[in-house]
Amino acid sequence: MAIFANDRTRVVVQGITGRDGSFHTRQMIEYGTKVVAGVTPGKGGQKFEGKVPIFDTVAQAVSEEGATASVIYVPAAFAAGAICEAADSGIELIVCISEGIPVLDMLKATRYVADNGARLIGPNCPGMISAGQAKLGIIPGQIVQPGPIGVVSRSGTLTYEVVWKLTRAGLGQSSCIGIGGDPVIGTNFIDCLDAFEEDDETEAIVLIGEIGGTDEQNAARHIKEKISKPVAGFVAGQTAPPGRRMGHAGAIISGSSGTAAEKIATFEENGVQVAARPADMPDILKRVLNA
């Protein structure tokens, strides 16, 4: 089943002719994703790799090719605008890979997406992959294998690390969602937890958090109240100093709030099994799956 996207999802790539956009579109297609259109203003009428039609606007990609999901690889200056264009054109799932979008722009864009009834994943994220079905973003396809674990994370390469460890331990995944490292994002942990709870294929959930904000704490309380499937957590940044942005715009301990210790404690209080190291994750999952 997987969540948010599957092998029937019709994808348009915004920024398909750019350096990152073209590279990752090729990989998405190779993985089996139904990439039905691309958008680059001024290049409408051309074809990507001689196959995928390119349009000037997302609206055309929707009306001509029936695109329902979009992946955005446009530069930060235009990314919030690209998100709004997708939402306004009837796209249901918008995955924004671009990083460096001003947070004040995102306040408006996230509201606009919600007002149009769309779902946004990201920005500043690796996107998502439904194992064996569709890849919307940049998660390396070869590390993923179909199976019962749902993965949701604020990070990119740390997600790959954990997913790869799961795969090698024989624990495949349903979907892996990178929700992004920015302070203001679209889909959050709770949205993904609810979707995994509903998904028949998912039997256990891995949640990878990091310092900054209260998303993990909110997720922990939500898990206790609403999620019946076992959840295993990891929080990065136990050694991060306060007041410094650890690479991700949202990874910052403000004053005494948003520390890893606080998040881990909230997980434990609410019945989430916490892995001390990424390497412990497979064993925790095997234990909860057999319980």
Binding site: P102, V103, I139, S155, E161, P183, E210, A236, T239, R245
Partner: protein, 378 residues
């Protein structure tokens, strides 16, 4: 990006928020001249990017130009929480009848700007939030409509109930504060304290602004406010080259691709009994050049006893990183051992390149971290 109080006050001034006069000095003599021109009592305030300047002795009252000079001589060069004071702001000492707090932040959980006001001014707002949260009043701004006039006035009346003249003054300041925030691309803006003078006038006698780094590409005037002197030189250099580097106190130098993995690597160093020397994210599409700069920065830290590379190749190609390591060690000799872990895109090529140059490579993160910690302590 943080900017100094004197810079934030310039922004305030441009937006019509009342701030006392004042000028910044880099020498005691300059501070004396400014105090003389201002006349009367002055305050000499350290300009550094840390809170708690007052407690650290970085804010001093002076009743004459001579005293201002002495105060500046004491404060300039002083270290506050590891940062050296290179500038002081000299500003008139105001008579204070009342102190309040005004601020606005980008609130992550509601995805909106939240304005905050409290009658408990002059102390850290986090302290107020912890002890007397009922004394912090908030207005959430809907990004679709911006701040509405009644929201500013409602907040102002929370501070000055029954005093309409003062509430109106405050409401105007609140509107201007919000405008200044949007104009500068700030993620936080604060007046603490907002004072009432004995004659009933409101004034911002301290100012704080954090600018969203992601705004700087479209706000060159704001970007110029960055004071690179107040930051660690290695961090400035790293940023110029597209890397994120944060110096820490340990001795295992870490070089990782991706922020989350970089943090997890530091944590694992600690887990195995070591201390990370730094956070360093070489970013997504890492070229060999970036790796060379990263190694230069890590090896420049004399506390580093062992270097650890942890690369999970996705967009980052392991062979690029391997080439960077080999090229760097051709340019300068490493004085400390290096442990390299790489896996993912072009892993085999990378191993070949490294082994050809006499390095060995590992594929498991835990093994590599354990070894790097061992090498740092042996």
């Amino acid at each position: 990006m943080n900017i100094h109080e004197y810079q934030a006050k310039e922004v305030f001034r441009r937006h019509g928020i009342p701030v006392p006069p004042g000028k910044v000095a880099t020498t005691p003599e300059e501070a004396e001249r400014i105090a003389l021109a201002l006349g009367g009592k002055v305050v000499v305030k350290a300009q550094v990017h840390v809170g708690g300047r007052g407690k650290a002795g970085g804010v001093k009252l002076a009743s004459s130009p001579q005293e201002a000079r002495d105060a500046a001589a004491k404060i300039l060069g002083m270290e506050i929480k590891g940062l050296t004071v290179r500038k002081v702001l000299v500003t008139p000492a105001e008579d204070i009848a009342h102190e309040a707090y005004l601020g606005a932040i980008v609130d992550r959980s509601s995805g909106a700007v939240v304005l905050m006001a409290s009658p408990e001014g002059g102390i850290d707002i986090e302290e107020v939030a912890a002890k007397t949260p009922e004394l912090i009043f908030k207005e959430r701004i809907d990004p679709r409509y911006g701040m509405l006039p009644h929201q500013a006035l409602r907040l102002a009346y929370r501070l000055y109930a029954g005093d309409t003249a003062r509430a109106r003054q405050a409401a105007e300041i609140i509107q201007k504060l919000y405008a200044a925030m949007l104009d500068a691309g700030a993620s936080l803006i604060e007046i603490n304290p907002l004072i009432t003078t004995p004659s009933g006038q409101l004034q911002a006698i301290d100012a704080k602004m954090n600018i969203d780094d992601n705004e700087l590409f479209r706000r060159s005037a704001v970007a110029e406010l960055r004071d690179t002197e107040s930051e660690a030189a290695a961090e400035v250099e790293a940023r110029a080259k597209g890397l994120t580097y944060i110096k820490l106190d340990g001795n295992v130098g870490c070089c990782v691709n991706g922020a989350g993995l970089a943090m997890a690597t530091m944590d694992l160093v600690k887990y195995y009994g070591g201390e990370p020397a730094n956070f360093l994210d070489i970013g997504g599409s890492s070229s060999p050049e970036k790796v060379i700069v990263a190694l230069q920065i890590i090896t420049a830290d004399e506390a580093v006893k062992s270097i650890l590379f942890n690369i999970f190749g996705g967009i980052t190609r392991c062979d690029d990183v391997a080439n960077g390591i080999v090229e760097a060690t051709r340019q300068f000799k490493l004085k400390v051992p290096i442990t390299i872990r790489l896996t993912g895109t072009n892993e085999e090529k990378a191993v070949e390149i490294l082994e050809g140059a006499g390095f060995s490579a590992m594929t498991d993160m835990d093994e590599a971290v354990r070894k790097a910690v061992e090498l740092a302590t042996s």
